[in-house]
Structures are given as structure tokens and as C-alpha cells.
Symmetry: C2
Subunit: 403 residues, 2 copies
């Protein structure tokens, strides 16, 4: 008989038991790449910018030609040319002259800085007075300042954010190697369940976990594959679970509140591979089962939607991140607990909460409700965790809110 | 001539000048609704659960039939029936008897609590010994505890999270009225720009802002419409901007670093409606233009990708949220500044940063780089803002990180 494990033990178990999948990468266009997981390291192959570039409107000069100038005694330099946007200077900058250059324009060869137009005066006779000395490198971005060949830009496993899309555009990477989305089979079990679009008869309820878990998976970037509702029939459940395991990278069963179904899920997982975990010391979420068929996780979640939700967020998404070799950094929000909250379970306690800003403070109001009410989650701004050896937290305690 | 405005003034300006659009709603299925903006308030029309429901495996009883029982003197009740999952009791609970009921099962009429199976003993003769007295309501969820007809569930303008999808499933709402996505025209201007998939000639650079801003808009839930790169030709730019304004809900121009193009963008906006803003006191991002044609925002962003990115996140997304009447609550992460940082610009300063957890502390490392380098953003974990009247922040200062 497997013992109930603490969250830390579960994380270690996941780390030990599952290897990153070697999934086929696919190539998507830049406009489809947002939120995808990079399948390869991205290393720059060229210089960005490809030329020395002005960051201001002004005159490109040799700094040494302006040394010692001032308002009283400007350096007077003939204008030898004008740089147009998108073009380079036809000739290098002759000594003792200047070129007009717009913001973003290419600096002519020989120039080593740009004097802002505010510090110049056009005398109208083809010469410019410069009243502030330049220093080499002033108001310039040098060729390759942003990117140079061989510069590592992004790592395999990185989830592409908008700013990464910009960086990929800058280096001309428009076909992006990304990992195929994980396919996760979702099965709801229970004689009492009807699909959400049906009217439940007395004693029946609608399947919440199917749509809920699919949405959590979709938000994470995985592809939920819905195998519908399976009644409490072990042979049928086994068949469905085996089908899902064949077609997907992982299978999540949920429901089966009754003892018989829980036992059935354990037997099915054991018959398909190995049962790793039977019970996590968290509230809600204790009756969680985890096993594997080869390297494919087989998860049995509690039937209560709130428990199924929290267990998925806390344990299953990190497991899937590990499976796909993707980064999974989460930065929780710090908030101040707005009221005392008790906990005395010998299990880590997960609480949904509302957040409210009051001046400089961010206050967290725990949502109190009976077990299993889905609406306690809907509209919540996040959740926090009370350690299992903690008997509660006082009003004003600093807590971390996960979203 | 319009004056440079502070961020607070810009937010007030946006609030005053733009009204929520009356966009057509559309109906999507539950599986497509994640991330969509609700077009109507959602009010429950029925009870969830629809029956009194057990939260444990055990025996449904009248609490009064168990008062005073104990380990030594159990209450002995005949088993009058068994509830099956998904069914209701055929008859009410006869006085002085009990019904077996599984977790999630329907409580028979007459029963007012459930005694957990752990506190019972099956004598094998059709009677059950109960060693712990029940109290009314114990181990039950009453009909409508979660939802009842008329209960407001979610508000118009709410962005649907996974837990909301679960709540909608619970009440049988599978056709969801959502707002059509905002269509935002994106135009990049500049003679120096080539599309990202082309090799730039000397003096040219790839268009970063087009893909970057499209990704920011997509992440926000809007639909970017790409009008490509327009060279520095006022008539052409006017034509494109007018076309985009006709086809979209807002238009974002970016680029035009040269003075001529900036002036052209101002003239175009004035010719199409009203110029509202010319310059924001932020660094980077000062040369931002905002106007409107009717109620359609016309935005002119700086050409530097970093500036364009920050201005979009800070000002344009809140503007679009207001336009679509959607909530736009952001809870920043609190972090500790890992090093001193200077600021002396008379403008609010926006800094990208890396975050790193060190024990209990979350440290923010500012990313230092020259203006305009896109790779300073790529891989950043967020950004923070230094107020314009602040000369810098010391190492250890508590700052808010936006993502």
C-alpha cells in the first residue's frame, strides 16, 4: 500500500520518474510562434544592427574635430553630405567635415560620434557650427551592439513571449522550430455525470472537470483531447484509458469519488505500468493517484472540481513542463492576508482568494466556502498555500499568491 | 503645440476621450471561450447542485436518531436502502433508519446529515452501528449551495479564465456570449525597413515593431491586422492609415524616427480627426503621438522597439481595455532591487529586469543596455518604473514588477 506523500515528496517523485519526451519539433511562422516552446537554442548568425547607427538627429563627425569647441568658440565644419534613411554613405567622411544623419541612419565610415542637432548651427554657407564637443561612441549604436554572430539569444524550452518574437524578427528568424504541443487525454468518470449541455436528472450533475481541466491545459499550452464521460465500469474505463494513453502523451482521469472507482483506477494504472503515488497531503486534493505507462503519466484526480483544479495547477503542470523540457518559472505576487485564517489538518491547505489594492498594500481575502463548490474559484484572483505544519496565519501575514 | 504629458495625465486623457465600443457580441462554444471577454453578465438560472449531496462515503441519517451515541453505546439503525451515484432515493428515509450513500450521492428526503463510514460498523444483519452523533448539515452540500437561480456569476467585461469555464459548465452555459476581438491595424513606417524575412542592405534594418506589436496585441486578446511597411511618403501613409482606420477599431503606426515623418503622422491624425497628445514624459517612449478619428484611437509609436513595446504595454493596452469595456486588473510582483539604479531625466523611467529567487527574497536585476536594443527585452522577466521625480533607487528598494 502506498503512503500519502507530502508535496515536496511528490515533486521529487515526478523529477525522478519522468524523462523529457523526445518529441518531433515542427516549424511555425513568426506570427504563429507566440506562446510556443522553442525546440532548439537560437543563436544569432549576423550583426544587428548591420551598421553603425545614429540614435539621434544630428551631424556625424570625428570627435577629434570637435574637441575644445564651445558656445563661444564653435567648431566650424563643412557639410560633406547627408545620409538618407535606409542608405549608406557613398563615401567615407572626409577629415574635418561632417555628414547630416537622421535618427537610425547609417554613420559614414570615419565618423565616430554624432552631435545632436540641438548643439549645432547651420550657417547657411555649407558649414555647421558645433558648440559641444563629441566623444567617440557618443549617440551611436555600433554594428553588432544588439546581436553578433554566435550570440546565444534564446534557449530550447523557452516559452516565446512577445518580446522574443521581436528579437527573432530582428535577426531574420521567421521560421521558428517549436515543440509540438503535448496532447493530454482527459477522461471524466462517474455514473452521476452528464455533459454540460444536458439537463441533469435528480441525483445527476454536469461534468465540470472535463471543460475545466481542458481549459487549464489549453492555457498552459497543451492540447487537451476529450474522451468524454465514462460510467463506473472498470472494463470500459480500462479500454478508454488505454486508448487515450496510446493516442496522447499523458492521461488525466478525474472523478470516481466512490471507493470502487478509486480502486479501479489504481488497478488500471498498475495493469498499464506502475502506480507511483496514492494520496497527496494537501487539502483539497488528497485522493490523487499518479502512475505511468512507460514514460506517459497516468493521473487520477479527485472528482471535486476545486481539488482537481488545484492539483493540476500545483503538480500536473510542473510534471507536463518537465515532460516537454520547458521552463516553468512562476513569480508569485506578494500580498498581505486581510484576515486570520485557520488550518489544522496535517495537510498543506490551498485557499483561493480575492486581491484588492489598498494604497500601497495588496490585500488577500481568502474565499471561504464548503468543499467542492466550483463558484468559489470562479472570479478568484489567485490562491495561496498554508504549510502542513502551520496551524493558521494571522491577519497581516505576508503571503505568496499564485495565479 | 501640444505639451509633453505625464503618465497620469495620459491616463486621464484616455479616460476622458474614448468611450467603450458597442461591438457586436458573438457566441462561442465553451471550449473556445478561454481568454474571451464576456459580452453579458452571467446569472445562474438553476440550482447547483440540484439536490442535497453527500461529501463523504457513509450513512445518511436523521441527526436526531444518532444523538447521544458513542463508541460504547452506538446507535443501531436498520439499513433501509442504498443510494446509487446519479440516482435519487426511490423513497424518503423512514424514521429510525439509514441509507448508504457514496460521496457525491443524493441524500434521501428526510435525512439531514451523513455519518462517515469510518464511524459506523456493519453488523451484517441489516443494521449499522453508529458511534459518532451527527449534526444537521454535517457532510452535506445543500441544493443550491454553489449556485441558485438569480445568483450573479460573472460580469460583462470579465476575461474568462479556466476556473470560469468550469463554473459555466456547472450551470450548463455552453454557448457563451463574448465580445468580438478588437481589430487593430499595425503599420510600420520608415525607408530603412525591410520585412523580417529579407536580408537588409547596408543602412537597412528589419521591421521589428510589426511582429513585436502584433504579438503584444495577440497576447492581450486583440486581433492585429498587418498593413506592412510604408515608406516615408506622407500621401501613401495617409492612404494606408485611412484604410486601416476604416477596417479596424484602432490604428497603431510605429517608426518614423525622422522629424519629417513625425510631423507627417501628426498632420495625418489631425486631418482624420483630432490630435490629443504629442509626447509622454517617459523614458523610453517620449515621442509618442495619440489622436482619434471619431472614437477610433490613432497611435504613433516611437520607432525604437523597446520604446514601442513599453508604451504599448503601459498606455495602449489600457486604452484598448477601456475601448472594449473589459477589466484590466494587473497585480504586479513585489521584488527587491538587486543593485543601485540611477534616474535623472525629469521623465518616468521604465527598466526591463531579470528576476531571481534567493531564498525568501525575489531579486530584480535591471537590464542595462543602450537605447533601442531589442535583445535587452528578450528574455526579460518584467519591467519596473522609476517615478519622474525620483533620482534613482537604492539596492534593496522594494519595487513592483510588471509582466
Amino acid at each position: 500500500m502506498l503512503q500519502v506523500k507530502t508535496p515536496e515528496e511528490v515533486f521529487r517523485l515526478i523529477e525522478m520518474e519522468f524523462q523529457p519526451l523526445t518529441k518531433q519539433a515542427e516549424t511555425v511562422s513568426l506570427s504563429e510562434a507566440l506562446g510556443c516552446v522553442l525546440a532548439e537554442n537560437i543563436v544569432a548568425a549576423e550583426y544587428v544592427p548591420g551598421f553603425n547607427r545614429s540614435t539621434v538627429d544630428g551631424y556625424a563627425v570625428r570627435a577629434s574635430d570637435t574637441f575644445g569647441c564651445s558656445d563661444a568658440i564653435p567648431a566650424i565644419l563643412p557639410v560633406a553630405g547627408e545620409i538618407k534613411m535606409g542608405e549608406e554613405a557613398a563615401v567615407p567622411l572626409p577629415r574635418g567635415t561632417c555628414f547630416y544623419v537622421p535618427t537610425g541612419g547609417a554613420i559614414p565610415e570615419g565618423a565616430d560620434c554624432v552631435v545632436m542637432i540641438e548643439y549645432t548651427e547651420d550657417y547657411g554657407d555649407g558649414t555647421i557650427g558645433i558648440s559641444k564637443p563629441g566623444t567617440p561612441g557618443m549617440n551611436l549604436i555600433f554594428r553588432g551592439d544588439d546581436v553578433f554572430p554566435g550570440k546565444p539569444l534564446l534557449k530550447a524550452g523557452h516559452v516565446l513571449a512577445p518580446q522574443d518574437i521581436g528579437a527573432l524578427a530582428a535577426i531574420g528568424k521567421t521560421e521558428i522550430p517549436v515543440q509540438k504541443r503535448l496532447r493530454i487525454g482527459v477522461i471524466s468518470t462517474g455514473d452521476e455525470l452528464v455533459p454540460p449541455d444536458q439537463q441533469p436528472a435528480p441525483g445527476q450533475i454536469r461534468d465540470v472537470n472535463g471543460p475545466l481541466l481542458s481549459a487549464v491545459l489549453r492555457e498552459f499550452g497543451a492540447e487537451p483531447v476529450n474522451y468524454g464521460i465514462v460510467v463506473d465500469d472498470e472494463a470500459l474505463l480500462q479500454k478508454k484509458t488505454e486508448l487515450a494513453a496510446k493516442e496522447c502523451d499523458a492521461v488525466i482521469l478525474s472523478g470516481g469519488s466512490s471507493v470502487g472507482v478509486k480502486d479501479a483506477a489504481c488497478r488500471i494504472i498498475e495493469s498499464m505500468g506502475k502506480l507511483l503515488l496514492h494520496g497527496i497531503a494537501v487539502k483539497p486534493g488528497k485522493p490523487t493517484i499518479l502512475g505511468k505507462a512507460g514514460n506517459k503519466p497516468l493521473v487520477g484526480l479527485p472528482g471535486h472540481p476545486v481539488a482537481a483544479f488545484f492539483v493540476t495547477k500545483l503538480f500536473i503542470l510542473p510534471l507536463l513542463a518537465q515532460l516537454s523540457g520547458r521552463e516553468n518559472t512562476v513569480f508569485p505576487v506578494s500580498a498581505e492576508l486581510a484576515e486570520n485564517i485557520g488550518a489544522n489538518h496535517g495537510r498543506a491547505q490551498i485557499n483561493a482568494c480575492h486581491l484588492e489594492r489598498k494604497g500601497e498594500k495588496l490585500l488577500a481575502f481568502p474565499i471561504h466556502s464548503k468543499s467542492g463548490l466550483i463558484t468559489q474559484l470562479s472570479g478568484a484572483d489567485g490562491y495561496f498555500i498554508i504549510d502542513r505544519d502551520c496551524e493558521g496565519l494571522p491577519k497581516g501575514a505576508s503571503i505568496r499568491i499564485y495565479q
